[in-house]
Symmetry: C2
Subunit: 199 residues, 2 copies
């Protein structure tokens, strides 16, 4: 009973954090702004999330759970690539959460950053999920003899790299269009998935 | 004469900053560590670079100048794509400067960050340079009917995105190999550049 209430409170906090991020961006998402929104003292909030980084990592973990149904392991098998295209389109409508992800990813590569472990673990998982999606649609071999695992590394890089360019200059960069360009490259330049890949 | 001495001093500071970054990483590259290395008081250093961000942006501008001969505009025309592959290989041997670039890029997407303008300007330039390189080798049309401009956006995204995955998990990610995979995708999966692109 106590556990259930605590989990409910955590869900409230994450919801409030998302709202604050959407309104004020990554920098404005301070612990005190979140505490105020959810009706806790800052001390009370620290009981659940001891640092801003811990809170933001929890938000991103929660986003991953919603976006891909828990580390991409949907009951129905790997994500179709077309659905990933839709996810990028969806992301283009929520710059604040993409900004939070991108800023935290950037920080995480510095020494002893509290989000480093989360991102390292996440990318191992995401690359494996993407490889499964690629294998389901392309088989063992992609253009140039590339394995699904190697193509997965590229696909994740494209998604992340596009986010930075798009956040810096949204008018100059068509993020969803560029991601679909990349999916087309993986099909050897063809529009759709019919027929075998060219030699 | 005074100007020449001031420029020499700036060059000394940038060199010292690179050394400090290499030894202590992005977080360790504090203004006081750099001041000590170059034999200036912290006040003296602030005269040349008023903030840590300003100093690091100057280091990255300097790197761009060395790496690509000034915004990519080499006297000899656009960069051959193979040379870009070598640049990625070179980057894989200098994680500290890649870490500095990646951490600063991550921060730059937050509100009113001092490096935001530098990166926005830089990406406009880098996309144009990459498009020129792609046009020189592939002509007006890449696989799937993609223009050099659209392929340039992808290529820059791949380079940046790979850096994050590689910095987080260097044993799991072969950054130069992955970039060469991408160059091969742009050739429609072929190993080299001979012959026309497949329809």
């Amino acid at each position: 009973m106590v556990r259930a209430r605590s989990e409910e409170r955590r869900a409230d906090i994450l919801r409030a954090t998302l709202e604050v991020i959407a309104e004020r961006g990554y920098r404005g998402a301070t612990l005190s702004a979140v505490a105020e929104r959810v009706g806790l003292s800052q001390q009370g909030l620290l009981h659940y999330y001891p640092t801003k980084e811990a809170l933001l990592v929890a938000v991103l973990e929660d986003r991953d759970r919603w976006d891909t149904g828990g580390g991409g392991s949907r009951g129905e098998g790997p994500w179709p690539l077309e659905l990933l295209g839709s996810l990028v389109e969806y992301n283009a409508m929520r710059p604040a959460i993409v900004q939070t992800f991108s800023a935290l990813l950037g920080e995480s590569v510095t020494e002893e950053h509290p989000a480093r472990e989360f991102f390292t673990r996440r990318y191992t998982q995401v690359r494996a999920d993407m490889a499964a999606s690629l294998r389901a649609e392309h088989g063992e071999e992609l253009p140039g003899g590339m394995t699904p695992e190697r193509a997965a590394t590229l696909m994740v890089a494209v998604m992340d790299g596009l986010q930075y360019q798009w956040l810096l200059d949204p008018d100059a960069v068509d993020m969803p269009g560029a991601f679909r360009d990349f999916l087309r490259l993986l099909r050897g330049g063809r529009e759709d998935l019919s027929g075998p890949a060219p030699e």
